[in-house]
Point group: C2
Chain length 258, copies 2
DNA sequence: TTTAACTTACTGACATGTAAGTAACTGTGC
DNA sequence: GCACAGTTACTTACATGTCAGTAAGTTAAA
């Protein structure tokens, strides 16, 4: 489970998109000003800009090294301040990580609404578009891949975030797939299909990071998505690969029937 | 890419299997003795036992915390010695990690042959069996999931190991799938299928670690494997999920045709 | 004058690796 | 069979480096 878009319209998927100030954690005063449509003061604008710089630097460092080995001094250097300055803004390293994840999600913060999300069958296209975009942003892909796997370790600050994000994404996919294929499949079949789709996207990312030239993420995800949707829509089960493999082994099948 | 069996016969997949001394790194003298079929001395037997204890402890600690945050003092405590004792045996923390990975693989070490590997179409069954076994060994699954994702970070000592292991596994799967489905599919189609299969297994592991009750690893892997093999064997492409989703969105399709 | 955005300096904790020392095992010579 | 030297498996103590977080101070904006 990494950066394969939970539905935020082109937000989570596209780091090249200019981030609006909405996505940078605001102080209560800033949020109040924003809610009242007051233009931010020069200092407030500067603060938002600096925080965004820190968040981007943190993404880069956590992607390159993971959370555990990603040092605040490195984040600070990339953001152009000292590590104590980073802590002034985010309170702690853990607070910084949480802010990075929320920032990437374009998640609602106090007083500011989150980005509108893609819903319905268009979400399948959105996923494919996200995978395509991901091939142009190795940094983001790596950040999510590393952080999501790290998050399963004991006491990792991002564990609840990733668990919640994954549960939410799977639930959303179940609804989307049902809408696309109809009411034929059981709840378990839909759930397994959603899990499989997420798994393919996540699993390909690590392969792609280790061997980019040999892995076609968009093509492979699309193929698997097509197969999964077609099987559910048609109501037919694919024959057992294990049985086929055994038949080939026994010489009863010459490997592929046309 | 985690512990989904690269073909070592029930070795990599089953930590409950009693490990023979073959899998514990031997000194040159021990290897020579073993090669000459000399019974090991009392001290040599004791050393192997202690090293194995350290390796198991290291797997546990690296699984629980990752390599970067997994401390030698923790490994030592679980193994019943001091961290300096661990370093006496393995030279360095990095050396310990490498030994853990080789130990898990049952890899050949000087003077000792590796375990025989599953080849041909039986490998597909072996994969399914491995996924089933993995549901009984959360620790091993977590260790590989965390280490494989960590390995994409800069300078990680296990990066070459996982890259090599993944490339080898994909190549092997390409041959196995070709043998099962025949010569119809192109090389790219076979490669994409192999990548997809590996991705599903790897991707499901992180989901399962975060939400074990909601994810059916064996059932989902089997379904996707069946679909992938059937599509390649039949030579037919599944219709586009994107097109179908758009049709549902436009009201031209009521969601699933039966 | 107050507040916020930093910086500098420091502290405590943690971690890896090394050196010196101890105890136990092994092999050899008598 | 025993003594002794050599080797190995550790332990203890230490050195060094890294890191996150805090306190006090400075500067600029409001």
């Amino acid at each position: 489970m990494s950066d394969h878009a939970d539905g935020t319209a082109d937000q989570a998927a596209s780091p090249t998109t200019t981030f609006s100030e909405q996505n940078v954690p605001l102080t209560a005063e800033q949020a109040a000003n924003h809610a009242q449509k007051k233009p931010p003061s020069k200092q407030q604008a500067r603060t938002l800009e600096r925080r965004e710089a820190v968040l981007k630097a943190a993404m880069s460092v956590f992607g390159a090294h993971g959370y555990n080995k990603g040092a605040l001094v490195e984040v600070a250097q990339q953001a152009g301040m000292t590590h104590a300055g980073v802590l002034h803004h985010f309170g702690s390293k853990e607070g910084l990580l949480v802010a990075v994840l929320r920032y990437r999600d374009g998640e609602a913060v106090d007083g500011v609404q989150g980005m509108p999300q893609v819903v319905g069958p268009a979400f399948l296209s959105h996923l494919l578009d996200t995978v395509e975009l991901n091939t142009q942003q190795r940094g983001v892909v790596q950040t999510y891949a590393v952080l999501s796997a790290e998050s399963v370790t004991e006491g990792h600050p991002a564990q609840e975030y990733f668990r919640g994000r994954m549960v939410g994404l799977r639930a959303k996919l179940v609804e989307v797939i049902r809408e696309v294929v109809g009411d034929g499949p059981s709840e378990k079949e839909l759930n397994d299909a959603a899990s499989a789709l997420i798994a393919v996207m996540d699993g390909l990312q690590v392969q792609w990071l280790l061997d980019p030239d040999a892995v076609d993420m968009p093509g492979t995800v699309e193929l698997v998505m097509n197969e999964i949707i077609e099987r559910l829509a048609s109501g037919h089960e694919a024959p057992s690969a294990r049985v086929r493999a055994t038949a080939v082994l026994d010489g009863r099948v010459d490997g592929g029937e046309h």
